[in-house]
Symmetry: C2
Subunit: 612 residues, 2 copies
């Protein structure tokens, strides 16, 4: 088979590929993740690269000879976001509830100075340890794997019976994960992960001090094989597909573990516990469980809860004997990320009626209190994650996160990181829609007022578009715009979420005004303008004091479970308690949805505070 | 390196070995286990083979060229004893208590016809199973390993949601070991093993019907590397020594599994649970745990209880996911075999004071009742196992198990299997000593009456010996004899056991007459003459009705634990309850021992019913 050399610039990556390979595949092979969202189907038109000064789609370009390929900034996804930014993104959520559960880490290191055996004190080495440990683990039953028994005699004698025992909490028992000579109890680290379809967030914590040491966010490398859950499940059904997707997410995870450890001067082998929260499909792919049935009616996951296991079995490159704990989910549409969110915001611990909305590709919503909970998921689409829109992007460096349009239609922007804008993220779109509505650039139906006197509104071959930043102002050198298709897309997303909130509230015979807490979670970075979200009809027009933006509540819940095995236990109770409402079988949901396809709504009485 | 061909006859095994190898090692390599008990040190003089019509010791003969080697009958150990004999040997023990615990096998197969998921019944595949199982496992918590979750979706759908779940009881929880399509619940088999230093007994049982299907006894192949525990521990400390010993016993176990399964038309893969009882060292070697510290003061085992694990992890060739459960021991000297014996004979369930004596290389003794138990071990030596005596052998086919000496000093014999005698086993020696005492062939001091008028008593270069069977009558063509060294050896053994019984009883302030049950266990085959054992001073002279011969109570206890997880739980309680008495630190034990070095005892008042 003939091989050709492809050189990707400016990354300067050179690889050999077989004749007939497409450029998207070649880019993936070289470690470059192009901003493709169609999984190589050529439909999204986003994997643009430049060959001989001509822009082509990487997925549709077949390699027939040696090539120099330029990857434009906007095509290449950044993999790892810098620490200080990531930390900002994960603030807010769960922090005020960080002490809601006792500090009792999921993995503990316990230093034991054991008495040396004598003829009168002749219990076995193992009993010497378990007898002493039993005093420290609150009466829970202790277990140990045979492998950890084998060299115990040597370990105890080499260390003069001074050892550090690493224990992990599993269900109602405590497992001895490792026994090491000497006192290593001062080093005990963990990582909490939120495994999202598009974004993966990992947080290194000190399990002794209850400190957050650092946070990283990366794009899910699985995105190269499908932008959304459905295309990934299809890919997983292909030969080796599951293996490839599993290895992709593990590569993400291990890069984050490595990067955080290096930056904090922590040995990866000192990472003894990792907790994972994510949607059902992500958890299946993480654990290499076939997700096929998730996309086939009646949409049943293989498992909604997952046994705790070793880090080595999952494939995390840390202490191989360390504990991997997975937050349980409810159904295909309510995953461990939502259970983690419920845990983090405290919905299940309050007597008051509360609501959690996680705005992502699906808008998951949980309503309830400490007595009962009901959850649902709206097919919102990934618009608020910046996906499927001309200039949409995730809430990462360079994303426009705030927009204001002045009286003279002057546009003021605020980007994440403060640099030149690269595109627009979810919170930016909410502001933009609101400001366009207020300034009359668009009407309630989402169409541009074509008579509006502004240079920013212009007609192209494809229709009208509104320019937010010109090529001169942007980081990419291209105009940053929004068109009517984008607005339609965003309108459907906000309509789906709003109508789901109403349908769920109605289902249990409650009114929105009875909801005393409304937690808004999602990948909006560290900012969401609630007032603007109400203005466009995404969130109900109710008392502003009930709203609280909680950011990445999935990560917060995963972290809380890592800091407290009682929190993890609570997550299990939550998983059992939430009942699922299937909107597709709800008689009035469709009507609600159609009525919500207006800014803010066809029934303006529902939004009394919105003046249009 | 030069290689030579060695041909072993009559087995017709031909192997190539390097120049300089000794013949014992070569024999082991060829799969022949020679009757050596010194572990290759050349001290026992038992590994006799014939080269060029000359008898030589295999361990001391170095291979310098091609060789034809004849292995005489008495040198080659028989590995597997036939089923019908083995079954006889294991009768008696535990049978009357077989129903003391409810029938609740350690491993169960449960057939589930699950409802197919629907939009309204959309719990995950795993929950569908655990919800249904929870109803059948008496409220115990359920666990499952990640590996068993991975293909669940496929298994359930391929079988139309009709599956068989194999569950194993572990501590206080139930683990899902396997999930198979269809109804395979009718085939559920298990094996109970007693792993002795010299003999391994295995029993195939039907876990559905509580039937014993067959029993096999084999010589422990580790014997080639050391006859007793100490030499094996030393061997285990050598490079690869532990591996070799572990593989040897696994070879025994797997041969028994295979042989029993073939004979009963059971697939080895249908063996889902195996329980093991054995002394501390045997359990360490079985589980490949370094036993080094067992022989170093203060003689501490690495573990006295062992976590249940999978058959594949132990190395048993059966259902790899099947459960391996190990009966817990107490200390180095009171192993899981004794705990199993206590379980089997019911000592821990009775209010009455009872005593269990297991006569083997160590004479282990447990005294107590349902309230308390104390155990000890006497260094009895392996005489009653037929080891270390001129014509001693295990209680296997051809062993003289009964002896009677008539008035005219005519000797009547009874061999195991009824064939020509090959040697004498423990129960044969007890009879023989008793009969020699009664007929005046030996005196109370164990010396021959040299004036006795009988052709059977003769003088050799080494001293006097008594001929029990001539070469013409024996299977080996050689005379079967006993000499004064043998008698001395047996006297020390019986003295050690008797004095331990007395020391233990005294320790708790009791008198032998207060013991209401006296269970005698050990490798005596299916026969032990209690009256004769009292006559020689091995057992105390008390009410004959308290005595009960229970045979292999270790195997019985292992079997009971396999048939009832509640019995297994009871074994755990027993392991915690027994306190250990160290005879070496008991002030009066030595005096007791010395006083017992007489037939029956120096203090004849202790044996009022013995008329000498």
């Amino acid at each position: 088979m003939q091989e050709y050399t492809v050189k990707f610039k400016p990354q300067n990556k050179v690889i050999s590929v077989a004749r007939g390979t497409d450029l998207l595949t070649a880019a993936i092979k070289s470690g470059i993740v192009l901003n493709a969202s169609c999984g190589g189907e050529g439909l999204c038109g986003k994997c643009k690269v430049i060959i001989n000064r001509k822009e082509v789609l990487a997925c549709e370009t077949i390699i027939e000879g040696d090539l120099d390929v330029i990857v434009p900034k906007e095509s290449a996804q950044e993999h790892l976001i810098l620490s200080h930014e990531a930390e900002e993104f994960t603030k807010g959520a769960g922090f005020e509830r960080e002490n809601a559960y006792p500090f009792s880490p999921l993995v503990r290191k316990i230093y034991l100075e054991l008495s040396r055996p004598t003829p009168d004190d002749n219990s076995s080495d193992l009993e010497r340890i378990t007898d002493e440990l039993a005093k420290k683990v609150e009466g829970l039953s202790l277990s140990i794997k045979l492998g950890n028994v084998k060299h115990l005699g040597e370990v105890l004698r080499d260390s003069d019976f001074k050892v550090t025992v690493t224990v992990g909490y599993k269900d109602d028992s405590v497992e001895i994960l490792a026994i090491e000579p000497g006192n290593t109890s001062l080093s005990n680290y963990g990582l909490a992960f939120d495994i999202g379809t598009t974004t993966i967030a990992g947080q290194l914590v000190d399990l002794n001090k209850k400190n957050i040491l650092g946070t990283r966010i990366a794009f899910n490398k699985q995105a190269s094989y499908g932008a959304d859950i459905i295309t990934r499940i299809i890919y997983a059904s292909e030969p080796k597909g599951l293996k490839v997707l599993n290895e992709s997410v593990l590569e993400n995870i291990n890069e984050i573990v490595e990067d955080l450890c290096v930056s904090q001067n922590v040995q990866v082998g000192e990472v003894n516990g990792v907790s994972f929260a994510g949607n059902m499909t992500m958890m299946h792919l993480l654990l290499k469980i076939d997700p096929t049935n998730i996309r086939k009616a009646p949409y049943i996951p293989t498992a909604a809860f997952f046994p705790a296991t070793s880090l080595s079995e999952v494939g995390v490159e840390a202490n191989p004997k360390g504990l991997a704990s997975i937050l349980p989910g409810v159904t295909t549409y309510i995953g461990g990320d939502i259970v983690a969110g419920v845990l983090a915001c405290g919905l299940a611990d309050n007597d008051e009626l509360s609501l959690l909305i996680d705005i992502g590709t699906n808008g998951e919503i949980v309503l309830g209190n400490s007595e009962w909970m009901m959850g649902t998921a709206a097919s919102a689409g990934p618009a608020f994650e910046g996906s499927g829109l001309i200039c949409g992007m995730k809430a990462t460096a360079g994303a426009i996160q705030k927009v204001r349009i002045g009286k003279s239609l002057k546009i003021t922007l605020d980007t994440i990181g403060g640099g030149k804008p690269k595109g627009i993220c979810g919170s930016g779109y909410i502001d933009l829609l609101c400001e366009m509505l207020k300034s009359g650039i668009i009407g309630k139906n989402g169409k541009f007022d074509r008579d509006k006197k502004t240079d920013s509104l212009r007609k192209t071959a494809a229709g009208y578009e509104f320019v937010i930043a010109s090529g001169a102002e942007s980081d990419t050198g291209k105009d940053i715009t929004i068109d009517e298709d984008d607005i339609e897309n965003l309108k459907r997303s906000k309509g789906a979420i709003y109508s789901a909130i109403i349908a769920l509230t109605n289902k249990v015979g409650k009114n929105i005004s009875e909801v005393r807490k409304m937690y808004i979670a999602g990948g909006f970075g560290n900012y969401l303008n609630i007032e603007n979200a109400i203005y466009i009809g995404l969130l109900p027009d109710t008392d502003r004091n009930v709203y609280q933006f909680v950011g990445n509540s999935s990560l917060a819940g995963a972290r809380m479970s890592l800091f407290s095995h009682e929190a993890f236990k609570r997550a299990f109770e939550i998983h059992k308690k939430i009942t699922y409402l299937d909107l597709s079988t709800e008689p009035n949901y469709m009507d609600e949805y159609v009525a919500a396809l207006f800014f803010p709504h066809t029934d303006i009485r529902r939004f009394p505070s919105v003046q249009l």
